[in-house]
């Protein structure tokens, strides 16, 4: 076991866990932040996506020992960011969600995309969101919401 000081959504959090523990389990089990979901556990579906130092990161495969002092932003905190707010609003406006299980990961990836590419093409969206799976197949609405959020940001 080891003690880690994590910066999560702008707040300092201390956890005492095995160094090999994936960040996802630290968020969900130690910090009780259950907005980030467990999907596949092998970084194949994107449900566990959070931001680490601004990079959309698959928290299910990143041991907490490799986080260091890089700030973490989760679905619980992304609404504080203007781009995150725009994406969440667009998600509601376009009624994207069906079952909702994958959507926190979808939103985190979409925010990362829009921060780098405020006016994404269909190809940009397919490439950046291609690793986020949705078994309800809400992909068409996701694409619409991303474009809508991009327009709202201008």
């Amino acid at each position: 076991m080891a003690t880690y000081q994590l910066n999560v959504n702008g707040q300092s959090k201390q956890v005492n866990v095995d160094p090999s523990t994936p960040l996802l389990w630290v968020l969900r089990e130690e910090l009780k932040m259950t907005g980030t979901k467990y999907g596949c556990g092998i970084s194949a579906c994107g449900a566990c996506t959070v931001h680490v130092a601004g990079i959309a990161t698959r928290s299910c495969v990143v041991p907490v020992s490799l986080i260091g002092d890089r700030p973490i932003v989760t679905i619980e905190g992304i609404g504080q960011d203007p781009v995150g707010r725009a994406v969440q609003d667009a998600w509601v406006d376009k009624d994207v969600v069906q079952c909702g299980y994958c959507q926190s990961g979808q939103i985190m990836s979409a925010v990362a995309l829009l921060k780098a590419t405020p006016k994404p093409t269909d190809v940009n969206i397919e490439e950046s969101m291609g690793g986020n799976l949705c078994r309800c197949a809400t992909y068409v609405r996701i694409r619409e919401a991303i474009k809508s959020a991009g327009q709202q940001m201008r």
Partner: protein
Amino acid sequence: MLATHRLVSRRFLFMLGVFVTLIALSTIVALKIGEKKASASNSKIADGLAAWEQVYSVLTSPRCINCHTATNYPQQGDDRHRHFANVIRGPAGKGVPGLNCASCHQSENADSTGVPGGHNWHLAPLSMRWQDLNDQPLSSAAVCRAVVDRSRNNGLDGPGLLKHHEEEPLVLWAWNPGRRPDGTMRTLPPITHAEFVAATRAWVDAGTPCRRTK
């Protein structure tokens, strides 16, 4: 008068003989030295080409060639299959926003989750592709030409290539590739890093020769 003339003629002929003999001897010596030099040079090139084949065996091992693709995606595994999760190259070889290499690959191996990692994890540029578009490794000669072409290899000369093979973190990673998700160790290149560096040095010392075949 006649006796004097004969004496001069004999001296002339003698001197001419000596001169011709000297010329012939020096020509033979020069040819022998040339042969020896050419033989030494050929031997050095042969040694360099043999050393290159060792280097090539490493460059085309999965730990190296999986990120030297000619396509829009990296590969993974010893069978060099396409990287899962729809990962693509991206403009700088580091994926795209939302799906970067760094989305999973950290600064070191994550053995508890089976994700390999290293400093600045990224794909090699397309100029340094060592495969064709069907994911088949290029020939030894073709890879050699790519590696020595300074317009394609980030301007590295022979000593620069040696330093790259000795010190580049992602090169070193090939001999410390960590564990697979099932907990088993990833396979290593066919020779040790020390042997790889020694082979590179021998190849560089020989003038980085490449075979002339395709």
